[in-house]
Symmetry: C2
Subunit: 289 residues, 2 copies
């Protein structure tokens, strides 16, 4: 607070302290607000919220910018908020990309999709977040957009693996085309509402992650493709790629749905079943078109 | 022929002369074949074929690997073949990417989609072209796939312009998501059959062109975004980007259909109406979501 920036991430961004009231006392902060935006990693969500009073979030509007699945319970953030704090789904929303934080920090024009089944809440958040370099649109697809945001990390990881193995741009384009179809197949089963997965919140988010140099998941996959073990890739990167955990959680989730997901399965086989990336991607390549 | 390679393009590829019978006498070559694959630039199609006997192609199966619109007539290659040589559409097919020739030459795994309204012909060509590093699928969407292959060059050019102007990956992802929707809107009007534009032949082809370093259209657009004039960008590149001509032809074509195509229109304004790229892309950015 003293230095007006976060000392660990995006240090160059200076905060306007006159507009902020910063505290580490979550109960107090939440009690005094109407709208809560949660933006910490999925892996720490349970820990962050476990000691809070159960009724604390009940009448709040809660938006999640968390991308990932909560490892302890295999829940997406919206489900976690709903189950842990009895917040009705109509009061829960999601903030989706395509958006690398690094580019937002550089004030490069970026688009956010605000998903909530209550359009007024989506509009309120969309208006609040829009600025010179942020454009916002709204969507009613809370669950689909949230799952898509998790799945894209797995496909970015897959893209990295293939790139590390020496596959080229032609193959990458086929992989990503199949990935967005795999996303659609899955979310259409989990939450069957009308949606166009070619929209920015789905396809755009997949593209920005799978094709970008900022992507941790792609980098992690690239190292796996180059022959690093999972352990040594993690040590080398000094951070953990969300897609690594997401893969396991999504495989678990899909046990209930049995959707055909060849790319997810291939990544799972490589990361958790110790099957050689060369073999696994060769097998996968016969399933793509 | 003497040196077993093309002296101008992809020189490192050596031809197996025992399998080829090479001639510059098109009439003779075509008269003695059942299947004709046409693979020269759209700009030279009229000139190449204008002196051939009108009945020459009539009973042939004709596949086009041409990507572009014939400038003299604003026709896509399938229409040109149909109109110039009375070949029925059922005998005409298209070979689609996503496929940079450079990567095929390096024997990197690539996928082709073979489009023809007669499935047996599509299958025959698909089988003939498949090999260790080429996988093929078939489609019945001759017209849609062909137009999509032309449009993608325009969007690659747009991606280059934005990149040259300093827009980042976040914006690029939004642009491409909107581009595939624009492709779908247009071809669904021009040729209303069932198709999934998330397939490799559409989305994949768009991705490989818009995101790849091999793309001439992207490079051309990048120079325009950096402030080069059309003329100087063309001189500098020493080759002409197909998307430059395609833009004009497609705008012309869309006069009949009146489909909403903001990205195509923006590129047209920049290339042909001399509107500043900065201004035009700023206006475009308000139309994307």
């Amino acid at each position: 607070m003293q230095y007006k920036h976060n000392p660990k991430y995006l240090q160059s961004v200076e905060f306007d302290l006159s507009k902020l009231s910063i505290s580490s006392d979550l109960t107090e902060i939440i009690a005094n607000t109407e709208i809560v935006i949660i933006a910490n990693p999925a892996a720490f969500l349970t820990k962050t919220f476990e000691h809070l009073p159960k009724g604390l979030l009940k009448d709040k509007i809660v938006f999640s910018a968390v991308k990932g699945i909560i490892p302890e319970t295999n829940l997406i953030p919206a489900e976690f908020i709903h189950q842990s704090f009895q917040v009705p789904f109509s009061n829960i929303g999601i903030i989706c990309g395509p958006c690398h934080a690094e580019e937002v920090a550089m004030e490069r024009l970026s688009y956010l999709t605000i998903g909530c089944s209550t359009p007024e809440f989506a509009t309120e958040i969309a208006n609040a977040l829009a600025c010179r370099y942020i454009k916002t649109t709204i969507s009613d697809d809370l669950i689909g957009a949230e799952i898509s945001a998790v799945l894209k990390n797995v496909y970015a990881l897959a893209a990295g693996i293939c790139s590390g193995l020496g596959y080229g741009d032609n193959f990458q384009a086929v992989l990503i085309s199949n990935a967005i179809q795999e996303i659609e197949r899955f979310i259409d089963v989990v939450s069957p509402i009308h949606r166009d997965t070619k929209s920015s919140a789905y396809l755009g988010d997949l593209l920005v992650t799978a094709y970008s140099n900022f992507s941790r998941n792609r980098t992690f996959g690239f190292m796996i493709g180059k022959g690093y073990s999972v352990k040594s890739a993690q040590l080398e990167m000094n951070m953990i790629a969300e897609g690594y955990f997401a893969t396991k959680c999504l495989m678990e989730m899909n046990k209930n749905y049995q959707v055909e997901m060849p790319i997810l399965t291939a990544v799972n086989n490589i990361l958790y079943e110790r099957i050689s990336p060369i073999m696994e991607i060769r097998i996968l390549s016969d399933k793509l078109s």
